[in-house]
Symmetry: C2
Subunit: 394 residues, 2 copies
């Protein structure tokens, strides 16, 4: 049995934040029905690369979902949605604030039809406040949260995180608040509304930066790969590329000086003697360390560092990551056969649960794949379904 | 009523991933008891800046927790922990794999004393596999997940994300799996073990990159602030700094050319006519756009872009972020009076729930602050407590 077996989720969302959230609900057993706008459905279905007409991106974040296609801009489409909403426990949407009201599928409207619904909205800046109507894509959230201002090289151009962290971060924030609301509903038999924003979700991750700002007014700046409080804790150049070092205490620093780089004199060098000294002279420290590390390739150093118990690691490219022996051992890549598309791959699950693990049950739906099935279950007759199809409602 | 009222969580963790997870459980009503190792407690207590002796960083991620100090390396300390564990629903730890077994507080041991416990371990690489014993700090996870290899400037040095995203990401992954396990326990009256790793949690975010690699073997490289599939979608230089643009469809591109930069000819320019053209000529596009944008300060462009409904935004530094009117409206900064430390601030909550919102109930504990209270509740007599203190167990 999975934790969310018997929980029905309507996924009104598109692209990334909402679909990521509902995918994880599906991974844990929820019956997720993706409701896609007639005619094209989720924008992501247009995103390359494709396999047999299926967007690979769509397939990766829409596993464990069924799909219905519906024209929500028509009254009859809305009626179908209302009948569906009466059977649901959770609704997730990530339209721009105001759109669900225009479509007649906002929380207030749905609550009248299903008073115990858990309804979660995800948007760039939230449903309230002076910025609520602004378009909040992932990159704007990186800019607004301050995180872009502290990522990259000092004096370089702005740099964004290589993956859309705030779309996914907001999706996960929505996810765990839906679980809180579901637990509350199990105990108190009441639904509620949840308002999640990309920027709020991002801000909630700036805990060290908040502490440094609240405590001493420090405004963080980009520092390349360097930690702002600890050194050496960054990427260093070797003969063959870069490696990562994370020396977080004096014991490790001693072992590093004596047994890795064989520069015991650094331990008493006034520039590097204490953690504070090393942070103050972090540029010189980098030069000195790289002068040694560039004499040998990365592998040699990583072996020596590991032998001394000094935290270290490689910088893998994404192909190396996916083929890495630990990635394979942790089953982070799943192979499956999509009945319409053929052999495909998707990502594995981020945690291993002993009793109720995540499961891959359903491949991503083709556009409108389960429309008939879902309408029949809502007691639409075959004739009614034909009529809705003829009118281009479904 | 909060969703987790009556749920007791033991927080054996330190620094960031585990404490972040248990903080959010506390925000939602759980009774979190932070168990800190005698004598110094959580390493983060040593991290500057300080206010009246309290580490500001510690205070930000340990609100809504009580604290007990305990020497877990002694048999008597373990006995105290076992008594406490019998009263708990959830245990969270982020020691290196193997350490809890040495301390006699691993899942197998605790399960014998409390069969329904939910026990969550967080580590760099997971509890299984060839890398399980490696030190997995946030920076190593950024290196192993491939995310560092796709962040920064092409041909630049490696760049890490400005906040420790994978520590926090693993904390949140632990959090939502604990909620899954708790829902499972509410329904089936059984606990379980959860194994979370920083690298697995990070990999689960690489959904677009997985799709591009699985679908056509693409290995993502650093692209500064640029999107890999959409242009213009990046930071552009203006007369006064940088702004962000995210033009995700042709309608927006048209409005941008005609009404923002007033270069209608770009729409039919073979270099920029379609989305694919713009991605292929993204360098030239940047030059052309910046030649126009550097003629006016950011404010002028942002106003014009907003008027045209073209997604855009500033890049705020962290101080500007915290003082921004939307941040204030969303109550993302909380002021409170710590009884031992004085007036302090902390971050607000990332989602707004209509029925069971997160609450700030307790400031972060001083080291060992609730030791007596918790021991008394476990039926230790005053004499026994004195004896444990005398022996430096608590």
């Amino acid at each position: 049995m999975q934790p969310l077996e018997g929980v029905r989720v309507l996924d009104l969302s598109h692209v990334l934040a909402g679909p990521y959230c509902t995918m994880v609900l599906g991974d844990m057993g929820a019956e997720v029905i993706k409701v896609e706008q007639y005619p094209e459905g989720d924008l992501i279905r247009q995103m390359a690369p494709f396999q047999s007409g299926m967007s690979y991106g769509f397939s990766v974040i829409n596993r464990n979902k069924q799909g219905i296609r519906l024209d929500l801009t028509t009254e009859e489409g809305q009626e179908v949605f209302y009948r569906l909403a009466k059977t649901a426990d959770v609704i997730v949407e990530n339209y721009r604030p105001g759109v669900t009201k225009k479509l007649g599928i906002d929380y207030e409207t749905i609550k009248e039809k299903n008073p115990d619904i858990i309804y979660c909205s995800i948007s760039g800046f939230g449903q309230t406040g002076p910025y609520k109507h602004k378009a909040g894509l992932d990159i704007m959230a990186q800019g607004m949260s301050g995180i872009m201002s502290m990522t990259g090289e000092s004096n370089g151009r702005p740099v964004k995180v290589g993956v859309p962290v705030h779309d996914i971060g907001a999706g996960i924030t929505a996810l765990y608040h839906i679980l809180f609301a579901y637990i509350y509903k199990l105990k108190h038999h009441e639904g509620q509304y949840i308002d999640v924003s990309l920027v709020d979700s991002a801000l909630a991750w700036t805990v060290w930066e908040a502490a440094a700002y609240f405590g001493k007014g420090e405004i963080p700046v980009p520092s390349g790969s360097r930690h702002r409080r600890i050194a050496p804790y960054q990427a260093y150049k070797t003969q063959s590329g870069f490696i990562l070092l994370g020396i977080v205490n004096e014991r490790m620093w001693e072992r590093f000086c004596h047994h890795v780089v064989e520069r015991p004199q650094w331990q008493n060098d006034p520039r590097f003697a204490t953690g504070n000294d090393r942070i103050e002279n972090v540029e010189e420290l980098e030069k000195e360390i790289e002068a040694v590390l560039t004499t040998q390739p990365s592998d040699v150093w990583l072996k020596r560092l590991e032998k001394q118990g000094v935290p270290c690691g490689p910088i893998l490219n994404y192909e190396e990551t996916l083929h890495n022996e630990q990635t394979q051992h942790r089953e982070m890549v799943i192979d499956y056969d999509h009945p319409e598309v053929g052999l495909m791959k998707t990502l594995g699950f981020p945690a291993k649960m002993s009793k109720s693990p995540a499961e891959f049950r359903l491949p991503a739906p083709m556009l409108g794949q389960h429309t008939d099935h879902i309408l029949e279950e809502l007691d639409y007759s075959k004739a009614e379904i034909e009529r809705l199809k003829h009118k281009a409602i479904v």
